[in-house]
Symmetry: C2
Subunit: 265 residues, 2 copies
């Protein structure tokens, strides 16, 4: 299994605090030692750092922790390999330019018999993971649905359909998903996903995985809204919302803008 | 105008020396202060660092200089903006997953009336540069040519056709190009491009843009072959090969594997 982390905010916010906790799980407090990656959106562009090394030892992870890149949308993944070798092309998140936007995808879970059950026609994977294969299949389905409508894919409008596709994929195993086009952040829970929305009045929070406390009041203004999504809660003194299996939620600017519930097998 | 840099080698090689010279041109010895980016291939995966800050001041450029990432294929670009705002989505190189490979593209020059002359059907740009627009047009043409052949694009096989397309694009202005699928490195010269192939017996070389000398004999084995391509020579004590206008060259493992000459208007 892997761990997912994402942030949606209404102002550019750094993710140093949450990332500091998560990266400890990459070979230190957790077993996710088979690489890590993080995507920061800046406007329509994005920065992408990844490393097949354990995040707890990676010089690039150290740079990301120390250099406060501010962003309104971040997706991060640390990997414990179960499908596909440990190498850069198998390291999440996977970014693809779609309809004039960067779409970023990260998956937690595993899928059985995915090559037979999810046949690919158009969008071909680069690496050998079940995760990237499922991403390509998902894009094939979205493109097929939009044929004749100019072929332009809008993540927000397609969210209910993406929810159905997630449930379809989830039948092959476990499929917790983060997907973003840089504006909207789509999240789907198969079995393990939590989120917390922080807004005024801000308080303090303590990381579970590192000796670190942050007082968000010092770091924020009254209007800030910041949602963090993670496989497991990262702090032990806040109330994280636990997703139901089959639940999907779309965030924009830190707020929930759309959600739904799929049947889970 | 911008500056291009690329490397093709038969063993994983770090590009710290050449990059140290080039990054000085990004706001220090040169005027290319509007961002920079670099792609390192590792297997079928690639790392991509970019920054809209001048490379001479960028903490990420400092990381790249100090952390010797070894690669057999690297593409780098420093930007002096002439089309499109200074922002992350307008920063080269541009990477797109195509037919199961990461294709990386960097352009030096500028193109007039590109939106009318290079109509886009399928591959949509994310930013607003002439460069990314031309990349999308080029991909549209390659896909159209391969229709009915399974749609799989092979950079090496398509190289002569890519050369023709470059000359077509070059009619709109200046189009020096670097393009790679991670195995092959395609280069096209409109007006300014140079390469040098270093192999045994290796000697010393001195950077033009920084006080730095390297003795390649200390860094290499007898079998190493390393080609560096740059807009302008980076060292002042080696013989760089100057491309002819309209000339294109494909490299693999540091060696020239294919080349051709197009008519230039």
């Amino acid at each position: 299994m892997c761990e997912l982390l994402a942030m949606s905010a209404n102002v550019p916010t750094d993710i140093c605090f949450s990332f500091s906790g998560l990266m400890q799980r990459g070979g230190n407090t957790g077993p996710h030692k088979d690489g890590w990656g993080i995507t920061f959106y800046e406007g329509k562009g994005c920065r992408n750092f990844k490393d097949p090394l354990p995040s707890a030892d990676s010089p690039i992870a150290k740079l990301v922790t120390e250099y406060p890149i501010k962003s309104e949308l971040v997706i991060c993944h640390i990997r414990q390999a179960n499908s596909g070798a440990i190498c850069l092309e198998n390291t999440h998140p996977f970014i693809r330019p779609i309809s004039g936007k960067n779409w970023t995808y990260a998956h937690n879970g595993q899928l059985a018999d995915f090559k037979n059950k999810l046949p690919i026609n158009n969008n071909f994977p680069i690496g050998t993971t079940d995760s990237e294969h499922a991403y390509c299949w998902l894009l094939d389905q979205l493109e097929a649905k939009q044929q004749g409508k100019g072929g332009s894919l809008c993540l927000r409008n397609l969210a209910p359909f993406i929810g159905q596709l997630c449930s379809e994929i989830n039948k092959l195993g476990v499929f917790n998903l983060l997907l973003s086009d840089g504006d909207y952040l789509f999240s789907y829970c198969a079995n393990n996903l939590h989120y917390i929305t922080r807004r005024a009045p801000f308080g303090k929070a303590s990381l579970i995985d590192a000796e670190m406390v942050v007082d968000f009041q010092q770091e924020t203004t009254e209007k800030d809204v910041v949602t963090v999504i993670a496989t497991q809660p990262l702090t032990d003194d806040e109330n994280w919302h636990k997703y139901k299996p089959g639940q999907w939620v779309v965030f924009n600017g830190g707020e929930v803008v759309l959600q739904g519930q799929e049947q889970v097998n």
